[in-house]
């Protein structure tokens, strides 16, 4: 006999009382009970007193280095996404998800070459959030723009709207995932500034961490609203700018020397 045909060994009386309790608790809105659940947990909810952001020193970003990209892929399980069998490499290259990418630029006038990592810019006025029909694309209180993939219907309107091409659609089944970064066919996703790490109180993203480990220190991450954070201090001193400033999106990711 398989498991499902077996019976709970609860005694009749216990059963009745518990079911009455269960029914009443279930009716009195599960929320009341749940929020008091685990008081000693280390984590807090995202707050609007914080705005996560980063400054990228384009001149420090090394040519040929891609440790931020591989760190991101490892952290968020993107390296677990495999090409479907028999699919062409060229096509898959255009279809596989990428949260962060290295871009190498050359000034058409002066010929100056620069490198920079490009990812979701976490706009204050995010076009992807505006256009999403279901509200799956949203901005957290702490400024992180992300996708609630439980209610994403896969319409890709946000990808049409994003000025930075920062979003990826999952084009095929994903066999394996990491716990902190669930992922499945048919939804859109993008960089979430390692929200899981921030919620756990880590305070840094995988890409920034990898960059400093490499010794480049091109990415400074932190709370833009905290005047004493490292990122706020360097932003106050260096001349930085937003990509596509003309759109007035007030991005949380800033660059120097672009």
């Amino acid at each position: 006999m398989s498991n499902r045909k077996q019976q709970p060994d609860m005694k009749r009386r216990e059963f009745l009382t518990k079911s009455v309790i269960a029914a009443s608790t279930a009716t009195i809105a599960p929320g009341v009970l749940l929020t008091t659940a685990d008081a000693n947990a280390a984590t807090k909810a995202a707050s609007s007193n914080t705005r996560w952001g980063m400054l990228i020193y384009t001149n420090k970003c090394a040519d040929g280095c891609s440790s931020c990209v591989s760190a991101c892929e490892k952290e968020n399980g993107i390296d677990l996404v495999k090409k479907p069998e028999g699919h062409s490499d060229a096509m898959w290259d255009e279809q596989r998800p990428q949260w962060i990418r290295k871009v190498k630029l050359k000034d058409t006038q002066t010929g100056m070459v620069s490198n920079l990592p490009l990812m979701c810019q976490h706009c204050e006025e995010a076009p992807c959030v505006d256009v999403c029909p279901t509200g799956a694309s949203f901005k957290r209180a702490d400024g992180i723009v992300m996708v609630d993939r439980h209610i994403c219907i896969g319409c890709r309107y946000c990808m049409m709207a994003c000025p930075y091409k920062a979003r990826s659609f999952i084009h095929a089944d994903v066999a394996e995932q990491v716990v902190e970064s669930p992922r499945g066919k048919g939804c859109v996703e993008a960089c979430n500034l390692c929200a899981n790490r921030l919620d756990a109180g880590d305070g840094n993203t995988a890409c920034a961490e990898a960059c400093s480990k490499e010794g480049h220190n091109a990415i400074v991450f932190g709370d833009l609203k905290d005047p004493n954070s490292a990122v706020s201090k360097v932003l106050k001193q260096s001349h930085s700018r937003q990509l596509r400033e003309d759109l007035k999106l007030n991005t949380a990711v800033r660059y120097t020397n672009v």
Partner: protein, 398 residues
């Protein structure tokens, strides 16, 4: 004016059932494609992270735009008091409903998670023009449904005009909404233009009327009924005006883009160096969809030819399809300018590159399935309900 008798299309004709069989088969193919796409994921399509909207969207937008335009004939009959158009109102309404249903089917079945459609009905973000469109589309079905009822049922006579006006206004709102889907995409140079919305309205007039002429003539051929020359001439002239207007709007759109230095890149791409998109624009949209139909419509050589009207209508649709293809796909193929004054030397995400898009068979079959669904609805409705007048011979006194 003599009394008009409406009658269902003759149904015993083997032509009808053969036609239905063929259409059912095509719909089946579309459903198989959907299953294929959903089961494997969108990697089996030509759509990528660069070209995120593909052929299904071209078909869907084409049908949705045409849907609101198909209602035009009914509107002329009831809102603007055109007696020659009034008998065509019922057919015009059912065609509008059918085209919208076909287009929405394609749109919905292309979603990454069509199983979550219920979420699209229960969770709304009212800042999104898409969310508004959901209301505009469902509202269109309801209003045109009532409008149709008011035309058929004697009890609805009092409501006929108010409903006609409501439907007309709603129709305008709907096309504006569809056009705005693109108008709001500030990031992409091809779309960021206020003229998008009115251009979509005039496009809808043209495609909708072309669909109307084709289905009307096909239905009357099917059932051996007669259409008078004057009516054909009226529809032909109307189509001519719309086709010319679409050309005019396309010219204004490109001229105004050329005025803005920032947009020179995209204009250069579409008009001169975009390869397949440039060809589609000049040959597909302008020549096939504009110049040739205008010639067929206005040349005295074809003034008595019904075939020329039919051919012009078909060409308008083909050209319109290309036009939407150029807008939707061409607009995405052109790279977004992220770093003005700089050239992208290297990127793993195809920044600064013209993106290629090769549609695959399943997407094409899904898109075409939408057209077939629309035609099937029209055929079934015209057979089951009194949609078309017995005869459309010209009235004695005009």
């Amino acid at each position: 004016m003599e009394k008009i008798n409406y009658r269902e299309l003759g149904c015993e004709s083997p032509r009808f059932w053969t036609g239905m069989g063929v259409m059912a088969f095509l719909i089946l193919l579309a459903l198989v494609s959907v299953y294929h796409m959903e089961h494997n994921g969108h990697y089996v399509t030509g759509m990528t992270n660069q070209i995120v909207w593909g052929l299904p969207h071209v078909f869907a937008i084409f049908l949705i735009v045409a849907a609101s335009g198909a209602l035009n004939v009914a509107s002329i009959g009831s809102v603007f008091g055109g007696p020659m158009y009034k008998p065509l109102g019922r057919f015009s309404s059912i065609l509008a409903i059918a085209l919208l249903a076909g287009g929405l089917m394609v749109l919905v079945l292309d979603l990454g998670r069509p199983d979550r459609l219920i979420i699209a009905m229960t969770k709304y973000n009212f800042k999104s023009i898409f969310a508004w469109n959901i209301y505009l589309y469902t509202g269109f079905f309801v209003i045109v449904g009532f409008y149709l009822w008011a035309m058929i049922d004697r009890k609805g006579k009092a409501l006929y005009r108010p409903l006609g006006i409501t439907a007309f206004l709603w129709r305008l709102a709907l096309t504006t909404g569809t056009g705005s889907i693109f108008g709001f995409l500030v990031a992409r140079e091809a779309y960021d233009a206020a003229i998008m919305a009115p251009m979509f309205i005039i496009m809808s007039f043209s495609y909708g009327l072309a669909f109307f002429i084709i289905t009307l003539m096909a239905a009357y051929w099917w059932d051996d009924r007669k259409i008078g020359d004057v009516r054909i001439a009226k529809l032909r002239n109307l189509l001519g005006v719309f086709v010319a207007a679409v050309l005019y709007f396309a010219t204004v759109y490109h001229l105004s883009n050329l005025y803005i230095t920032q947009h020179h890149g995209i204009e250069n791409f579409i008009l001169l160096e975009g390869g397949v998109y440039t060809k589609m624009f000049w040959i597909g949209q302008v020549l096939i969809g504009g110049v040739i139909p205008l010639f067929l419509i206005y040349s005295p050589a074809f003034s008595a030819s019904r075939f020329a009207v039919m051919a012009a209508s078909v060409l308008v649709l083909v050209g319109g399809f290309f036009q939407i293809y150029v807008i939707v796909i061409g607009g995405q193929a052109f790279p977004m300018t992220l770093f003005p004054g700089k050239e992208v030397v290297e990127s793993s995400f195809f920044d600064g590159m013209v993106n290629s898009y090769v549609p695959t068979l399943p997407e094409a079959m899904l898109g075409f399935g939408g057209v077939v669904v629309a035609m099937t609805i029209v055929a079934v409705a015209a057979r089951m309900f009194p949609m078309l007048p017995d005869s459309l011979e010209d009235p004695d006194s005009i």
